[in-house]
């Protein structure tokens, strides 16, 4: 049985990998939805929010249908590269990413919506290109909200269970994250061995939420300062 520490390390690795997918993709999606006129945006938002409403088991089986050996993609990676994505930590990271995605995107959208478009426009009139505007105006101004959204997604990824056990299995040392290890130990009656893992989970959650809250109050304070200064002219 892997040690508690190696389980924590594996869980952090899988959650971090999930956020590497969620953060760039989520920012693109959130920015597009906030700043651009998108056809069928309602249905896009429904699609993005589905992982919040659906039971993760459904997401797990959907991913398994895409990545498993019976699928075109699964057969391709298996026969060309000798890889199986299903039942590896990569599959666990993908499952966590899908489930964490809506939470992060929602927060990203709020963060981008809070950025004053006049500032972006002003930069454009001074000759900055769209990328420069994004990186020097939009990103710095939305920063606390974006980081808060990323942390919220990270916390969700840490606790992912339902989709992971279906598409990545429950392999000790490979895909058995904190949640899966706790489940396995409790379902085999080993409550004592589950306790340290539960404590670790609580600590990780507390740290994530503390940072998240701090960034949110910071964002609110920045916003208040800005409107004050604007009122003063």
């Amino acid at each position: 049985m892997p040690s508690a520490l190696s389980i924590v390390l594996l869980t952090l690795k899988i959650s971090a990998a999930a956020m590497l997918i969620v953060i760039p993709l989520g920012m693109v999606v959130a920015w597009t939805l906030v700043r651009k006129r998108v056809h069928g945006r309602f249905w896009i938002e429904v699609l993005i929010s589905l992982p919040l409403a659906l039971t993760p088991v459904v997401i797990g089986f959907a991913l398994l249908s895409v990545l498993g050996r019976n699928s075109t993609m699964g057969r391709f990676t298996h026969e060309i590269f000798g890889w199986d994505i299903a039942f590896t930590w990569v599959a666990a990271a993908l499952a966590s990413a899908v489930v964490a995605f809506p939470l992060s995107v929602r927060a990203f959208m709020v963060a981008f919506a809070g950025v004053d478009t006049r500032a972006e426009l002003a930069a454009r009139t001074l000759g900055a290109g769209p990328w420069r505007v994004f990186f020097t105006i939009t990103l710095p101004m939305a920063y606390p909200g974006l980081l808060a959204g990323a942390l919220l997604g990270f916390a969700r990824a840490l606790s992912e269970f339902g989709a992971t056990i279906v598409v990545a299995g429950n392999i000790p040392g490979e895909t058995q994250t904190l949640s899966l290890a706790i489940f396995n130990r409790i379902s085999t009656g080993d409550d004592a061995a589950a306790m340290p893992l539960i404590v670790v989970t609580v600590v990780l959650a507390a740290i994530s939420i503390a940072i998240h809250n701090h960034l949110l109050t910071r964002a609110v304070r920045l916003e208040a300062n800005r409107s004050q200064r604007e009122a003063r002219g």
Binding site: L64, L67, P140, V166, G169, N170, G173, S208
Partner: protein, 289 residues
């Protein structure tokens, strides 16, 4: 321009820095402490390259077998050098995963039902099937409750409290309990008093917490559960034999190694191990001896 702001200005406040530092410190500390072990157990290794390590078998196994199989795999590796990895879950769920293209070389289930289905569809090799252990059904009551049972029928005639069983639609344990209660002729009468639950562990929890008067669980579960007493073994002729069958997966690329692991699981040495964890040998084996 007041709107252009250095991003680091925002994070550079002392409390944020302190929190971020704490967070990174925790992660680093965990990483540092775990690194020796981590390299030994290689959770950081990349995607599994199926063809590379000559000697890895992936077993999809019923969660109730976690402890005994983990120990068996360690012994098997020291004897043969073949590494066995497990993915533990509910038998019915594991069977569905395999149908959907999950990789796996061996399946080991609680109860014959899920494996019969896979066999019929050619997903596992029929000839490779071995029964590796069996289990018994017992009735438990809250510890020190003083409840006594002389027969199954007495649950209906002598008591009026709730009765916890695993849901027959969700878990094999529930189907065995239903069979036993039907045989005793009290299934219909007990209907409104039943608490169906997800699995045997939930059944035991319902009894241990005092929410149910009696519960039907596997003999091997009792040792792991605190707060319950066995009040009666369900008569062996009241339900079908509870077998743990194993098979090699038809699509496996490590069939030879998988077969060797199955042979090990039916060996004398493995039988001793199963006995240690409270499992019984399959009954026909007992008859042969």
């Amino acid at each position: 321009m007041r709107v252009i702001r250095n991003p680091f200005q925002i994070v550079a406040s002392t409390p944020t820095l302190a929190l971020l530092a704490l967070f990174s410190a925790v992660i680093l500390a965990v990483a540092a402490c775990a690194s020796d072990r981590a390299t030994a157990e290689a959770p950081l290794a990349g995607m599994k390259v199926t063809s590379e390590p000559a000697g890895t078998v992936l077993v999809l196994a019923a969660a109730s077998l976690t402890d005994v199989l983990t120990e068996a795999a360690v012994k098997f590796k020291t004897e043969t050098g073949i590494e066995v990895k497990f993915s533990f879950g509910g038998s019915d769920s594991l069977a569905t995963q395999l149908r959907r293209g999950a990789p796996g070389d061996v399946v080991i289930f609680a109860g014959a039902g899920p494996l019969d289905g896979l066999e019929k569809d050619g997903i596992v090799l029929k000839d490779s099937r071995r029964d590796i252990a069996s289990n018994r059904l017992v009735i438990i009551a809250p510890a020190r409750s003083g409840l006594k049972l002389a027969s199954l029928g007495e649950i209906a005639t002598g008591y009026s409290g709730r009765v916890a069983i695993a849901d027959p639609r969700l878990a094999p344990a529930g189907r065995y309990a239903q069979a036993a209660l039907e045989k005793a002729g009290v299934w219909a009468a007990l209907g409104p008093r039943l608490i169906p639950s997800l699995d045997v562990r939930n059944t035991a929890a319902a009894v241990a917490s005092g929410n149910a008067e009696f519960g039907f669980v596997y003999e091997t579960d009792v040792a792991a559960v605190k707060g319950v007493d066995v009040v009666m073994a369900v008569p062996r002729d009241a339900y079908p034999q509870i077998l743990y069958p194993a098979s090699v997966v038809a699509g496996s690329e490590a069939q030879a190694l998988a077969g060797r692991f199955l042979e090990y699981l039916v060996s004398q040495e493995a039988a001793g191990l199963f006995g240690k964890y409270g499992f019984r040998p399959p009954e026909y084996q007992a008859l042969l001896k």
